[in-house]
C-alpha cells in the first residue's frame, strides 16, 4: 500500500500535488576499464575532428557543454501535467532552433548546447502521449477512453489526477501497462532511439541515447540516468530497465542490467545518480537500505565501476554540501532543497544529510575504501537540468522551469511547486541549474562518453565557465602563467585523475585556471576543497581560497572578504566592474601527509548576478516577498583529484 502510493508520485520526481500545481497554474489554457591509477598519462588521443583546433594537441583542447538529463512529453509525469514536445523538438531546441513550448510561447536558447541526452522515465514510457493521441489499444480500455476524453476536452488536470490516483491505488489496468515487452513500449523506445539517431551529428552535435531508471523506496529518490555510448543498432537490442516489474528498485539490479547489456551487445553504458538531497539518507549509504547490512565488496566494486559521475546540481536543488554538514563554509547555503524526501511524505532529519550530499559522500568514500579496498563514491561531478518541458535551460535570464506549470508566467514564482501536509516547496525555489561540461577530444558519442568515464568533467549551475584543474608533484608558479593545459597534462593528471607515490618530502601541487562565461558574470574566486581521512580514521575537510579578483586580503579569521555586489535587482541587471575575467594559480597543499587518503576539487564562484526570480519580477512587474532570493552566485564544481597512499 505504502509502496503503491509512491508509485506515481515518486517514480517521476514529481508528486501528485505538484502535478495539480502544474495543471492549476496553466497559463491561458563493455566493461569499462578504470583509468590507470598511478602514472600521469593524458587521456586517449584522437585526432581533432573539428576544424577549429589549429594545432591539434594530444589532449582535449575544448570543453563541451550539454545536458544529460532532459524529459519530454513521453515521461508520464511530464505528459500528464501538460507537456507536449517530443524528443525531436528537444534536440532541435538544444541545437539552438526556436520551438513553441507547450504553453504556446516561443522558446530559444541564447547559445546552442553541444550535446543532449533525452532521458525519459523508463516506467510507462510513451503511455501518456499514446493516450493523448488516442491509440486504439488504450481507448479499448474504458478507463483509457475516459482519460483520453478528459484530456481532449480540456480537462487535462482531471485526467492527470485520475491517472495518478489510479496508480497510487494500484488499480492501473494491466492491459494498459507500458512496460518492456509490450508493443506500445517497444515502439516508444524505438522512437526515442530514432530521434537521437536523426539528431546526432558527429563533430557538431551529439545526441545520446538514454533513459531514466526511476527507483523509489518509501518516497526516497534513487534515480539514475542511463546513457549509451553506442548507436541505435546496439541500443535497440534491449529495452530500458524499469523500477516496476519486470524491473527493480534496487541499484544492484540496474548494474546487472548494465552488465547484461554490455555482454550481449559489446556496447557500453554508464549510470548517473542525482538528487541525493531528496533521498532521505539513502543515496550514498554506509548501510544498504535494501538489506540493512553494511556495504559489501560487490556493492562498492559495482558502484565504482558503474557510477563514475554524479549529477550534483539541477533544478530540484544543488547537492554539493549543506550548511549543517559544513557550517564553516560560507558558500554552502546555496539553493538547498532539504525539506523532505522526493514526494514530501517524510521530513528531513539532520542525520540523513551526510548520506545525501556530494562532499560528505566523497569523504565517506575514503573510509569505505580503507575498509573494503574500493571507493564506491569516487565520482566526478556534472550538472544537468532534469527539466520536464523538453527545454534544456539553465540560464537565469532564459529559464523555462521544471515542468509545464512552471514555464514562464506571472504566476509561476508564487505558485506551490509541491505541497503536502508536511511541507510546501514554492515555484520560486526551483533552481535555474545546471549543465555538464566535458573535456573531450571531439564532439562525438564515443569521445564524450569516454571523457565522462575518466571523469574529466565538471558541473556548472548554468554559466559556460571554462575550468581546468590538474594535480601533480612538480607544478611551478610559471606553469600558471603560460599554457596551462600543456603544462597540466605534461606534469600531472587532469580532474578526475589519481595521484600516488610522492617523492620523499613532497606535497602535491595543483594547477587551476578558470575563465568566465564570455556572456556572463566575472569571477569572484577559485577555491580548492580538500577532504581527507586523518590518522585516527576521522574524516576532515577544508576550503582554501586559492585565487581571487582584485586586491582583497584575507581577514583575521582567514576569510577572504566578499567580492561585492553590482546587481540592480529592480532592473535585473549587473555590471562586470568587479571580479576577474580569468583566475589562474598554482597551489600546493600546505598540510599534506603522504600516509593519508585525500581528495581535492575546485569550486569556482562568479560575482553576484540576478537570479531568475529577479528577471521574472522585472518581466512581469511582480512584487515578490522577502523570502524570495533575487541574486545568486553561480558556480562550477570540478571532478576531484584523489590522492591514495601506496600500500
Amino acid at each position: 500500500m505504502k509502496r503503491s502510493q509512491h508509485f506515481a508520485t515518486l517514480m517521476f520526481g514529481l508528486s501528485l500535488p505538484s502535478l495539480i500545481a502544474g495543471c492549476a497554474s496553466k497559463p491561458a489554457e563493455q566493461a569499462v576499464t578504470p583509468p590507470p591509477v598511478a602514472p600521469a598519462v593524458p587521456p586517449p588521443i584522437a585526432p581533432a575532428v573539428t576544424a577549429s583546433a589549429a594545432a591539434s594537441p594530444k589532449y582535449p583542447s575544448r570543453v563541451f557543454f550539454g545536458d544529460t538529463h532532459l524529459h519530454t512529453a513521453l515521461s508520464l509525469d511530464a505528459g500528464a501535467a501538460g507537456g507536449k514536445l517530443l524528443p525531436p523538438e528537444a534536440y532541435r531546441f538544444a541545437k539552438g532552433e526556436e520551438v513553441t513550448s507547450a504553453t504556446g510561447q516561443k522558446a530559444k536558447l541564447s547559445r546552442p548546447l553541444d550535446f543532449l541526452v533525452v532521458a525519459d522515465h523508463s516506467d510507462q514510457m510513451g503511455f501518456i502521449t499514446d493516450l493523448a493521441a488516442g491509440k486504439p489499444e488504450l481507448l479499448a480500455n474504458p478507463l483509457g477512453k475516459k482519460w483520453h476524453d478528459l484530456m481532449t476536452s480540456g480537462k487535462g488536470m482531471e485526467a492527470a489526477m485520475s491517472i495518478i490516483t489510479t496508480f497510487a491505488q494500484g488499480k492501473f489496468p494491466k492491459d494498459m501497462m507500458y512496460n518492456p515487452g509490450t508493443t506500445g513500449y517497444t515502439s516508444t523506445w524505438q522512437a526515442i532511439i530514432k530521434a537521437a539517431e536523426d539528431a546526432n551529428q558527429p563533430g557538431k552535435f551529439t545526441a545520446f541515447i538514454g533513459y531514466e531508471w526511476t527507483s523509489l523506496v518509501n518516497g526516497a529518490n534513487l534515480h539514475r540516468n542511463v546513457l549509451f555510448r553506442d548507436n541505435g543498432d546496439k541500443a535497440s537490442q534491449v529495452e530500458p530497465f524499469t523500477n516496476y516489474a519486470p524491473g527493480s528498485s534496487n541499484p544492484r539490479d540496474l548494474w546487472k542490467w548494465m552488465t547484461a547489456y554490455e555482454q550481449k551487445t559489446g556496447g557500453q553504458v554508464l549510470a548517473i545518480a542525482h538528487n541525493g538531497n531528496l533521498s532521505n539518507g539513502i543515496m550514498f549509504p554506509l548501510i544498504e537500505s535494501f538489506n540493512g547490512k553494511p556495504l559489501d565488496r560487490e556493492y562498492v566494486e559495482q558502484r565504482a565501476k558503474r557510477e563514475r559521475i554524479y549529477e550534483v546540481t539541477q533544478i530540484k536543488g544543488d547537492g554539493e554540501t549543506h550548511p549543517f554538514l559544513t557550517p564553516n563554509d560560507e558558500f554552502s547555503d546555496f539553493e538547498r532543497w532539504d525539506k523532505g524526501n522526493l514526494d514530501l511524505t517524510q521530513k528531513k532529519k539532520p542525520e540523513m544529510l551526510q548520506f545525501e550530499y556530494a562532499r560528505s559522500a566523497l569523504k565517506n568514500g575514503l573510509k569505505l575504501e580503507s575498509q573494503l579496498g574500493t571507493n564506491p563514491y569516487k565520482f566526478g561531478m556534472i550538472g544537468s537540468t532534469d527539466s520536464h518541458t523538453s527545454l534544456a535551460t539553465a540560464d537565469d535570464n532564459n529559464f523555462w522551469g521544471k515542468i509545464y506549470g512552471s514555464e514562464p508566467s506571472p504566476r509561476r514564482t508564487q505558485h506551490p511547486f509541491m505541497k503536502t501536509p508536511l511541507a510546501t516547496i514554492m515555484g520560486w525555489e526551483e533552481t535555474a541549474s545546471g549543465y555538464a561540461a566535458v573535456w573531450a577530444n571531439e564532439n562525438t558519442r564515443a569521445s564524450l562518453f569516454d571523457a565522462m568515464q575518466r571523469k574529466e568533467v565538471y558541473a556548472t549551475t548554468g554559466p559556460r565557465m571554462t575550468v581546468r584543474f590538474f594535480g601533480g608533484w612538480d607544478y611551478s608558479a610559471a606553469d600558471a602563467k603560460n599554457d596551462v593545459a600543456a603544462a597540466g597534462y605534461a606534469k600531472g593528471v587532469p580532474m578526475g585523475g589519481d595521484l600516488t607515490s610522492p617523492a620523499a618530502g613532497k606535497s602535491p601541487t595543483f594547477l587551476v585556471a578558470a575563465m568566465k562565461d564570455p556572456e556572463g558574470g566575472n569571477l569572484d574566486r577559485v577555491q580548492i576543497i580538500k577532504g581527507w581521512m586523518d590518522e585516527k580514521g576521522a574524516l576532515q575537510e577544508k576550503v582554501y581560497d586559492v585565487a581571487w579578483s582584485g586586491e582583497r586580503k584575507p581577514g583575521a579569521n582567514g576569510k577572504l572578504p566578499a567580492v561585492g555586489n553590482t546587481v540592480d535587482v529592480a532592473n535585473a541587471t549587473w555590471t562586470n566592474t568587479i571580479g576577474a575575467a580569468q583566475l589562474t594559480q598554482t597551489w600546493q597543499d600546505p598540510d599534506f601527509s603522504p600516509a593519508l587518503r585525500a581528495f581535492y576539487y575546485v569550486r569556482v564562484l562568479e560575482i553576484p548576478t540576478p537570479r531568475w526570480t529577479a528577471y521574472d519580477a522585472k518581466r512581469y512587474n511582480l512584487k515578490l516577498g522577502k523570502e524570495v532570493p533575487m541574486t545568486t552566485q553561480e558556480r562550477a564544481y570540478t571532478s576531484p583529484i584523489w590522492y591514495t597512499p601506496a600500500k
Binding site: 577549429s52 547559445r111 481507448l139 479499448a140 532564459n398
Partner: protein, 297 residues
C-alpha cells in the same frame, strides 16, 4: 499542433511501420479470424505468436521465461484481445476524432510504404539546391590568431599596452605564440565557424571580426574576457553550400519534399472519387490563444 507534427515525423520510421503493419496483420488474420464470419467467439493463439511473446520476454529479462511465465504472457495476450474486441463491439472506436485521426495516419504510412520515393540523382539534388538556396546557408568561417590582454593584469594601462603590443606584432619576426597574456582559449584557429567563435569568445567578438582587415594584425577587439589583438588570415564568407558540402542534408530535404508531393497526389486521386457537399456557413474569427513572450536579457 506540435505534438501531432512530432508524432508524425517519428511515426514515419520504417521499423514502426513494420510494427504497425505487423500488428494489423496479426490482428486481422491471426486472431480475429472472423468475428465477421460468425466465429467471433474463437481466439486462436498460434505457435508463432507465442514465440513472439517469448522473444519479447527474453529481450527484457535476458533469460527464457519458465512455464508459468509463458502462461502469464499468453493469458495477458488473450485478455488484451478480448478487451480489444469488446471495445470494438461497444463501438468505442466510432465517432472518435482521435481514432479517426489515427486511422488517417495509418493509411498515410501504408500509402508511403507502397510508393517509396526513389533515390535522387545528383542532378536532381543540384537543381533542388539551386531552387532552395536559403535552406542551405553555410556560416562565415575564420582562420585566425588571437593574442589576449587580461584587464585584471593591465588595469588602466590596458589600451596603451594593447597599442604597444600591436606595433610589436606588426614588426617582422614577431612571436604571437608568446605575446600577451595566457588564457584557456586557443591562440590559433583554422576555418572555425562563426557560431563556434561566438560561443567561445562571446557574440560581440565575432561581430567585430567581420570588419577586420585580412592578413594584418588588428585590434584591439573586445570579447567577453577583455581585449584581443587578432590576425585574421582568412574569412570565408557565408554562402550557399555546394552539394558536396551538404549532400546528406540536401538529400533529406529533397526526399521530404517529394514525399509531401506524393502524399498530395495520393489524396487528390482519392478525392476525385467523392462527391462532396459543404453546407453554407459563416466564418467567425476567434482571438488567438497562446502568448509570444520572448525571454532574453
Amino acid at each position: 499542433m506540435n505534438d501531432t507534427l512530432g508524432m508524425r515525423s517519428w511515426l514515419r520510421e520504417p521499423l514502426l511501420h513494420f510494427l504497425l503493419l505487423g500488428c494489423a496483420l496479426f490482428v486481422l488474420y491471426g486472431w480475429v479470424g472472423g468475428r465477421a464470419q460468425g466465429e467471433g467467439a474463437n481466439i486462436v493463439v498460434t505457435r508463432r505468436q507465442i514465440e513472439q511473446l517469448t522473444a519479447g520476454f527474453v529481450r527484457m529479462s535476458h533469460r527464457a521465461p519458465d512455464q508459468a511465465e509463458v502462461q502469464a504472457l499468453i493469458d495477458e495476450a488473450i485478455h488484451e484481445e478480448i478487451y480489444y474486441r469488446e471495445a470494438k463491439a461497444l463501438g468505442l472506436d466510432r465517432d472518435d476524432t482521435i481514432v479517426r485521426r489515427r486511422l488517417t495516419q495509418k493509411l498515410q504510412f501504408v500509402s508511403e510504404n507502397v510508393t517509396p520515393i526513389p533515390d535522387p540523382t545528383d542532378a536532381q539534388l543540384e537543381a533542388y539546391l539551386r531552387d532552395n538556396p536559403q535552406r542551405f546557408q553555410q556560416e562565415i568561417r575564420y582562420s585566425l590568431t588571437q593574442v589576449y590582454l587580461d584587464p585584471e593584469q593591465h588595469g588602466a594601462r590596458l589600451t596603451d599596452d594593447a597599442q604597444a603590443l600591436l606595433a610589436q606584432l606588426r614588426r617582422p619576426g614577431s612571436v604571437p605564440d608568446t605575446s600577451g597574456d595566457a588564457s584557456l582559449m586557443p591562440r590559433s584557429f583554422e576555418t572555425v565557424p562563426a557560431g563556434e567563435l561566438s560561443r567561445m569568445f562571446g557574440e560581440k567578438f565575432e561581430l567585430a571580426l567581420r570588419a577586420v582587415p585580412i592578413g594584418q594584425w588588428s585590434g584591439p577587439v573586445p570579447s567577453g574576457y577583455g581585449i584581443h589583438l587578432v590576425l585574421v588570415r582568412e574569412r570565408a564568407l557565408d554562402h550557399t553550400a555546394t552539394l558536396a558540402e551538404m549532400h546528406d542534408d540536401v538529400r533529406r530535404a529533397w526526399t521530404e519534399t517529394q514525399q509531401a508531393a506524393a502524399n498530395a497526389r495520393f489524396y487528390a486521386d482519392l478525392r476525385k472519387r467523392y462527391h462532396v457537399t459543404v453546407a453554407p456557413h459563416e466564418v467567425t474569427t476567434a482571438p488567438s490563444v497562446g502568448q509570444t513572450t520572448e525571454l532574453g536579457p
